[in-house]
Symmetry: C2
Subunit: 402 residues, 2 copies
Amino acid sequence: MSLTLSQRSAHYTVSPIRELLKLTEQPGMISLAGGLPAPQSFPVQALRAACLDVLDTQAQGALQYGPSEGIAPLRAWVAAQLQAQGVAAKADEVLITSGSQQGLDLVGRVLIDPDSTVLVERPTYLGALQAFAQYGPRFADLTDDADGALPTLDNPAHRAARVVYLQPNFRNPTGQTMPAARRQQWAQALRGRSIALVEDNPYGELWFDQPPPPPLSSQLPGQSILLGTFSKMLSPGLRLGYVHAPQEVIAKLTLARQAADLQTSSLTQRLVLKVLESGVLEAQLLRIRDLYRRQRDAMLDALQRHMPDGVHWAAPQGGMFIWLTLPPSMDATALLPLALARKVAYVPGTAFYAAGAAPRNTLRLSYATATPKQIDTAIAQLGAVVAAARADHPAERSATTA
Amino acid sequence: MSLTLSQRSAHYTVSPIRELLKLTEQPGMISLAGGLPAPQSFPVQALRAACLDVLDTQAQGALQYGPSEGIAPLRAWVAAQLQAQGVAAKADEVLITSGSQQGLDLVGRVLIDPDSTVLVERPTYLGALQAFAQYGPRFADLTDDADGALPTLDNPAHRAARVVYLQPNFRNPTGQTMPAARRQQWAQALRGRSIALVEDNPYGELWFDQPPPPPLSSQLPGQSILLGTFSKMLSPGLRLGYVHAPQEVIAKLTLARQAADLQTSSLTQRLVLKVLESGVLEAQLLRIRDLYRRQRDAMLDALQRHMPDGVHWAAPQGGMFIWLTLPPSMDATALLPLALARKVAYVPGTAFYAAGAAPRNTLRLSYATATPKQIDTAIAQLGAVVAAARADHPAERSATTA
């Protein structure tokens, strides 16, 4: 007896990389693979106090069904936060979601038809590709330079795109930040076209030296969909994020939401609101920024000391990730089992490419979860793996040193 | 500047009924419309204790990302509960979801292609129709008799169906229970066909005098997808439900889940597990059953006293709903504004029909939320509305009395 599955189901496949990364649960493994926030950053005491307060004073609301859009004061809090960043946001243009990933899925439902063109950075966030892919788009890669994706809509397919998906701040996986000037160029290129900007901003608050430029959405009112999350600021396990979009898009997203899962937990919404109202967020952000800055510094330092010549990276100004480019002959997927044998995990870069041939010699490292000491140990091991692979390619070695 | 939305978006529309029901928030309104669990049934103290315990002893797990399938002990708890009901369930055949509604959406993604036939009861649960409709099926109505939907797959379209969606226990909206014999007939009719049974069982624990027969799924191993929820037992605001399905279907549902929103809140999963482990569930269920039984009795009694001749209903043996059939000339949608003017809300029956012409003279009443006294007041008002409408149709009146 076998059931007939949808054609869509054929696309729901387990990646071999994900299978390999199950090994990261082994004892002694140092994982630089996942984008897991550092657990010591979680505001446990503030949440504990919030739990008691909410269940003692508003249990009926916290445990009952609530509005699909999210509770009003949390929507207002998000709108105020976006306004402070220059986005003309109103509370009724905000939908509370169960994490940013749900925002991506809902945006896919409401904006993407089979064969719609979706423009994406190269490389881009894997989870966005997975969310959008369910709705059958054609992905078209943008071209990067040092400032991020170039705003060239230079062929008819690009100009007819339904959506452009960008992560201007500390992009996952590259760690890049799009400078203000490039954002302006993007706004000019998109303005007046019926291409929706989907701006994904999970890491914007995780800056190290100075805040990133204002969201690109601030320059494209009525045409932008901005996604944010409390996962990196407070806790990913709560599953709380938001979408800001024009009111008519929010109305559709909300109806899609009702069909999807009705609403985000009434309890977790109130817990997060209570934590935000308690005023701990600013101290919380200072602590996380400091923590991740030190871990980034540790990783940059370790890379400098342990990586052989011919390996390249750039220092991220925020977020969680460093993008490594190995010598061209190397294959980061092929090296992964060797790294895992030395108790180090990373994500090969091929996972992050939507269309076109993916380079085999890139990989993503996260400095969010491991301690500076663990990071040093892991990068030393990884450096040894790369150096050994390099020794197997003497031709390239001499080419590089030539 | 207007954005291009997906074709799917055209189906995301606000029903005029939903707009009318916004009036239920007015002071003094007695709503028999929503299926909101009685707030006095929420296990607030058990949840409060669970919050403290979880945040004091396992905060890192509760606030971090977790497995998309759900946490292992909760999956095991669900499997054990299903086994006790005769379903041969294993923990790895269980996916934890953010409420049953998400289970329906994920089932739609994994099983339904455009133009797949989905067989549904007539009438059936509106939320299931909304979830499945996103994936473009053709709905085909089953025919009811007093025991529920008839298992006649009497035309080629029915026999080629991808899915049959049934609620054997205390069906929303009719309150009907499918007897054991009818379940057996359904199992026989489906066995060996490649039609997936999707058995939705949100109300199964809310029985009044005796438990309903074992799930139909228990007779169709390998061919059944069973959906359950903690919304009616504990709290809908937590958003916690589950799907049991063959392992290969669970694998696809899990991948769809990753694209949808990664996972259900790590915190709420642990809270519910802790409440379940604390042993309060049995007492909780006794309390809820007793509460709803008394409210059902109050509604049956009020209907008996206040409804004019020609109005029909059956006594539900569990769940939350009574289905009212007015005289054939009446239109429950047209009467709704008159009822709202008298501070009573209900849901017109037309909302619950998938295909074919919906009768205009039916409506759904919920006895879950209002107190016995409120129920009596509301039914008296509703009786007056129906009696007044009846007086406007003297022809029918004499026809009935003839």
